[in-house]
């Protein structure tokens, strides 16, 4: 039982990291109808940027900012200079997968070429472990959870209270109608990529801050879990991604704690395949959602 409670604690941390990543990923899909497989490697790149900042003396907060800013810029550039031109040429949906996969491979291997195959760590100091019964989390981990909650809240406010947020939702649902309503679609799309890129970068830094060491493949390894969380909730639905992240985060850590640590992602994927068989549009998607029928 105590293992279960401890696992729940870890599950919340993983869920937080996943939430930050999955929401960014799903926002990109929502606004551009694109499964950005370079997302994981963008996370890694941001993590490396934060690493360099760390080496220059930055603390965790500055690293988060650096990573987020780096992720934002890279994502924006990616959409403007690679994805949009290809989409304008009416590249097929799978063609875009090849494009984003190629970008992913390029980014990951440039990082490998630049930094080498070794493992790197952040110097952010050991934080104290706080205990409450069987729950044992470090201060940094609690910070991660708090950060994720704050980000989700901020995003919720953005989407529901601000003009930009509403414009983003409109463009996601019906781009041509949004354009017809006078929404500056290219600008809204750009802001969406900037925002989701920021989440991507922050998620990358947070992912690394929670593990002992990272390398050029870390973000990409995490990508599959991110995609799974987004798909579970219904691609394009931010709240779905949050729920998907929570479910998968808990499932993986509980499975790791109780059953087998090495296979923990396996349970997440098995759950995803099951859901896709029963309800391919995910938990929140509608039956006519774009992810389903061709």
């Amino acid at each position: 039982m105590s293992t279960l409670i401890a696992s729940v604690g870890f599950g919340l941390v993983t869920a937080s990291i996943l939430a930050l990543a999955a929401v960014g990923f799903t926002l990109q899909f929502g606004i551009s109808n694109l499964l950005n497989l370079a997302y994981g490697d963008t996370m890694t790149a941001a993590a490396f940027a934060a690493y360099l900042a760390n080496r220059a003396g930055a603390d965790l907060w500055l690293m988060l900012l650096t990573g987020g800013a780096f992720g934002a810029v890279v994502s924006l550039a990616l959409n403007r200079f690679v994805y949009t031109p290809f989409r304008r040429r009416k590249t097929s949906l799978f063609g875009m997968v090849i494009v984003s996969l190629s970008v992913a491979v390029i980014v990951q291997n440039l990082l490998l070429a630049g930094f080498g195959p070794s493992f790197f760590t952040y110097q952010i100091g050991q934080s104290r472990t706080l205990r409450a019964g069987s729950l044992a989390l470090t201060v940094n981990q609690l910070l991660i959870i708090a950060l994720a909650v704050a980000a989700m809240l901020a995003l919720h406010l953005l989407l529901t209270r601000t003009r930009l947020g509403k414009a983003m939702r409109a463009t996601s649902t019906n781009p041509s109608l949004a354009l017809g309503c006078g929404i500056n679609t290219p600008r809204v799309v750009g802001m969406a990529w900037l925002l989701s890129g920021f989440l991507c970068g922050v998620a990358g830094v947070v992912l690394v801050a929670n593990t002992t060491a990272f390398q050029s493949t870390t973000g990409n390894d995490f990508l599959v879990l991110v995609v799974a969380a987004a798909m579970l909730g219904g691609v394009g639905k931010p709240y779905g991604a949050m729920l998907g992240a929570l479910v998968l985060g808990l499932v993986t850590e509980i499975a790791a704690g109780i059953i087998a640590p090495g296979l923990k992602e396996g349970f997440a994927f098995a759950l995803l395949v099951l859901v896709l068989l029963v309800r391919p549009q995910g938990l929140f998607g509608d039956a006519t959602s774009r992810a389903v029928a061709a």
Partner: protein, 359 residues
């Protein structure tokens, strides 16, 4: 020729053969039928692992440092055939789950997740296929029959070539050159229209997915019996991108174009790195190789998405209005039907011709 040169050449030729089988299999699935099979490498691996565990003999052998299932010592060519069959069965299973009316990119990502899950399973159940270390010391088939290893090397080249020929004439050409291939291409171009014309698109896709899977499995089995080792590090999902790039570069849908792609992408790439002086550390050349592959894919997707040798246009004899044209090798066509359509055709052709000019 020195022994070293012979070994180099024969190894190269075996890789050429295996890569050609690989592009043919993915070309059937994707180039012809439009299935975005990002899990392709899984089927080559299934074939390789199957052949391996059917050739290795019991796992207690060799000091028992490897653990794996089965461990038979079947004579050649059974392990290779079994490799194809198991890969085909796996393709059937995966196809049944994934090949519904999901949109292309969604399907691709699900296949990607399946591939990653498979890697996870193999690595975490070491008694299945020896986990992350993979299998090694796989005995080469019929090697005892050959006195010299040079002789054996040439034998294996001939074997690979023979398999390629059989696969091409009995499978690839039979599909792509037939009305079945046409139906697959129609499904690729507009699946809902194909269905509305009576094509069972799910059945068609499953069929070609399995056939492609079998060929991929055979390619894996052939390869593993030659290089005698196989591990998870060698079949990550990115490996499928190499085959896709080969097809994109060579010519999607073109049987000979993709062969050129196989020569240019996987083979050329692996060989070029031999001749570049090693600069920096070994990982650097490897990493740059991948950067170039990704860049090549992007370049061709942008400048020449149809590839170097695009899909051939299949032209047919059309005849003019009012003339009777014999079909290929068939002069005595049902005169009634042909006559009737020709007759009314002749009658209305002037009117149609007039309207035609307004099109």
């Amino acid at each position: 020729m020195s022994a070293a040169a012979v070994f180099y050449l024969t190894t190269l030729l075996v890789y050429v053969g295996v890569d050609i089988l690989a592009v043919w299999s993915l070309n059937l699935q994707w180039g012809i039928a439009g299935i975005p099979n990002l899990a392709w490498i899984l089927f080559q691996s299934a074939g390789a692992y199957t052949a391996a565990v059917l050739t290795l003999g019991p796992s207690s052998g060799n000091g028992g440092f490897q653990s794996y299932i089965i461990g038979a010592r079947l004579p050649f060519p059974l392990p290779v055939l079994a490799g194809g069959l198991v890969a085909g069965a796996l393709a059937a299973l995966v196809g049944l789950v994934v090949l519904r009316r999901l949109r292309g990119d969604y399907q691709a990502v699900v296949l990607l997740v399946i591939t990653v899950t498979a890697t996870l399973l193999v690595e975490n159940f070491p008694r299945f296929l020896n986990g992350p270390a993979g299998l090694a010391l796989i005995p080469q088939p019929l090697s005892s029959r050959f006195a010299s290893s040079i002789g054996y090397a040439w034998f294996y080249v001939a074997l690979t070539a023979a398999v390629c020929a059989v696969v091409y004439f009995l499978v690839v050409r039979r599909i792509t050159g037939s009305p079945l291939g046409r139906a697959l291409r129609a499904t690729r171009d507009c699946d809902f229209a194909a269905a509305a014309l009576g094509k069972n698109i799910v059945g068609l896709r499953l069929f070609v997915f399995v056939v492609g899977g079998v060929i991929a499995g055979i390619s894996g089995a052939l390869l593993v019996e030659f290089i005698t080792a196989w591990s998870p590090g060698g079949w990550m999902y990115v490996e499928s991108l190499v085959v896709f790039t080969a097809i994109i570069v060579g010519g999607t849908g073109n049987d000979f174009g993709v062969m050129a792609g196989a020569l240019l992408v996987p083979v050329l790439f692996n060989e070029i790195t031999r001749y570049i002086p090693t600069f920096g550390s070994p990982y650097l050349v490897d990493a740059l190789q991948w950067v170039v592959i990704g860049g090549l894919a992007l370049l061709f997707m942008w400048f020449r998405p149809r590839g170097l040798f695009p899909e051939r246009r299949r032209t047919m004899a059309l005849g003019g209005p009012g003339t009777t044209v014999a079909g290929p090798g068939q002069a005595g066509v049902e005169a009634g039907r042909a006559g009737a359509s020709q007759g009314s055709g002749a009658g209305t052709s002037t009117a149609a011709g007039g309207a035609g000019s307004g099109l």
